[in-house]
Point group: C2
Chain length 355, copies 2
């Protein structure tokens, strides 16, 4: 087990903790990717996204949650790495599925190397996730390692279900209701970007079932809120060239990329409710068209409608509501200095994030 | 643990055993895929390839190897299912990477549903592999379950490395040497189609390290030989409309598909050594061209050259050599009635398969 020289409670604040955690996880991920052949067809590709930065908040959630329930960063490290590897796997495959252009400020992996090599690099990244989860056995023993593996499989299953809904709607020209959107985002983002890492950390800290349930509800709320905030940022960002990092700015995706990809975000669902029939038809056409058929002018028209109609503001309110749910969950958990950092993290992920 | 009413030694011969095993594994796989929403965007897609048949010889290798070393089909069943799920995952993603048209006699999954949904269904199938491997815990206990998980991760890592080489050569217009081909095929096929399932079965039977090594060498030889035989069949098949099954015919892929996809098969490497400069240049052009630019006439020209030059025969000899290596490995293992079935399986997979 690797000795780690910092903890959440020893950090001066959230910023310092996130910076320390991000540096550590980055090192661990780059060490986990083999440094051998085939380099240029596989391992170089796998190192690409992790080397571009990223907030690594899923790892931070595992570490914070573990510390809250009396465990250490050393004991939670392999699981934190596993969630971050899963995030990098998901980004590679999502970018192919959405045919996204920019990720963390640079061209997406499949645009750089073609779909076949990028797809395979994503598969190998998912393989590494399970290597990291097996490494838990050294510090956590068989039974807990096994429970975490089973929990992780549940996280992955929900993620793939949510992803199927999200991309299925685009493939089949379906526009979901708000309830359908909610079912999708709870699966796609609620689990692996919130509930999963939080509950994993609590399991490592041997929290009670009730506390595991409660921190899971907290995680689900920030996962959903984070995604909605991400959708907002996709429309209000001006530059895609700065990669996101633990503390500094950079949104890292192209402005309006969600619109170009035809994504059924909550903003679009809110917007449809507010448009005239003529404008709603125009929005339909834009979302249904292949990305290369939409001009910058059309993307900007949609962004302008989202702003002027109040759809964007409605989603900002939705983010605030989920932040509130998250904060209420935190109050139900046993008192611990980590609570303060978790509260800061809610604002950081769901409300303030405006780079 | 599920009770299974047949065994390798109780079967009248290889055919009966393969038929029984294939039926059982098919049922188990279709049961493992959740019967719930999202059906049409995810679980229906996951059921598609398994429902098309397939020889399921990787599962059979796990079961035979386990029985050889004193274990039962019941104890080896989850692992056998895991290898077959991995095979179905690999087929879905390979078909995207190669842009293959036909699989098991029908259109490939991404041609039916588009890359995004097919890719995600493949990911979910890989998730199910790990669910099947975790199910081992009930019958095998923690320690052996973890050993199998670690072994499986090694199998997966080698497969992704081999796949990276195979598709990297096509993306980067590289023609490999025989030694490079050998390194690729050992990783890509030797592990998950032979060494992996055989060693997994032996681990379940608590075989000695020496016997695990030896049955691994056997498995690697049949995996490599099987792939070379598959490459031969791709050029001599006349019909793609019949799906392969445990005992009956059906190759299930399009004639000359490997050529259309520009695959660097051993046959092509052997052929380059035998062609005049002019014909070699023509072959280069055909293999480098996008599949839609090659006519049936060009594909047939390549097949004719492979036959008349002796390249095809050279690979048939290569198959026989690997069959011989496999048979020699079998002789080094302790005496057991399963040996006879394994010998039959060598011929079935590497030599006789001519549908």
């Amino acid at each position: 087990m690797k000795h780690v020289g910092f903890s959440a409670t020893s950090a001066a604040g959230l910023s310092e903790f996130l910076a320390n955690a991000s540096t550590l996880i980055q090192q661990e991920i780059l060490t986990a990717i083999p440094d051998k052949e085939p380099q240029s067809f596989l391992y170089d590709l796998m190192r690409d996204y992790p080397s571009r930065g990223g907030k690594k908040f899923r790892s931070a959630l595992v570490l914070l949650s573990a510390e809250w329930f009396g465990s250490s960063i050393s004991e939670a490290l392999s699981s934190a790495v596993a969630f971050e590897l899963f995030q990098n796997f998901a980004l590679i495959h999502d970018d192919i599925e959405d045919d996204s252009l920019i990720r963390r400020g640079k061209e997406t992996l499949h645009r750089l190397h073609g779909i076949p090599l990028a797809l395979n690099a994503g598969d190998a990244m998912l393989g590494l996730v399970y290597e990291a989860l097996l490494a838990n056995q050294q510090s956590l023993g068989y039974e807990l390692t096994f429970q975490i593996l089973a929990h992780f499989n549940e996280v992955a299953r929900h993620t793939f279900e949510g992803q199927a809904m999200d991309i299925g709607w685009i493939v089949h020209d379906i526009f979901p209701s708000k309830a359908e959107y909610q079912a999708m985002i709870t699966r796609k983002t609620g689990w692996y970007s919130g509930k999963g890492p939080c509950q994993c950390g609590a399991m490592i800290g041997k929290a009670s079932p009730e506390n595991i349930r409660c921190i899971g509800a907290f995680g689900e709320a920030i996962g959903i809120g984070f995604q909605a905030r991400d959708d907002v940022l996709n429309l209000i960002t001006t530059s895609a060239q700065e990669a996101p990092n633990a503390n500094t700015g950079g949104y890292g995706k192209e402005r309006g990329g969600d619109i170009a990809e035809g994504k059924r975000t909550l903003i679009m669902i809110e917007l449809f409710e507010r448009l005239s029939q003529t404008d709603a038809n125009r929005l339909h056409q834009i979302l249904l068209a292949p990305r290369e058929e939409n001009t910058e002018k059309e993307i900007e028209w949609v962004i302008e409608q989202a702003k002027s109609s109040g759809a964007l503001d409605a989603v900002i309110v939705y983010c605030e509501e989920y932040a509130q749910i998250a904060l209420e969950c935190l109050q139900l958990l046993p008192d611990h200095p980590v609570r303060h950092l978790m509260k800061e993290l809610v604002s950081y992920l769901v409300i303030d994030r405006d780079f």
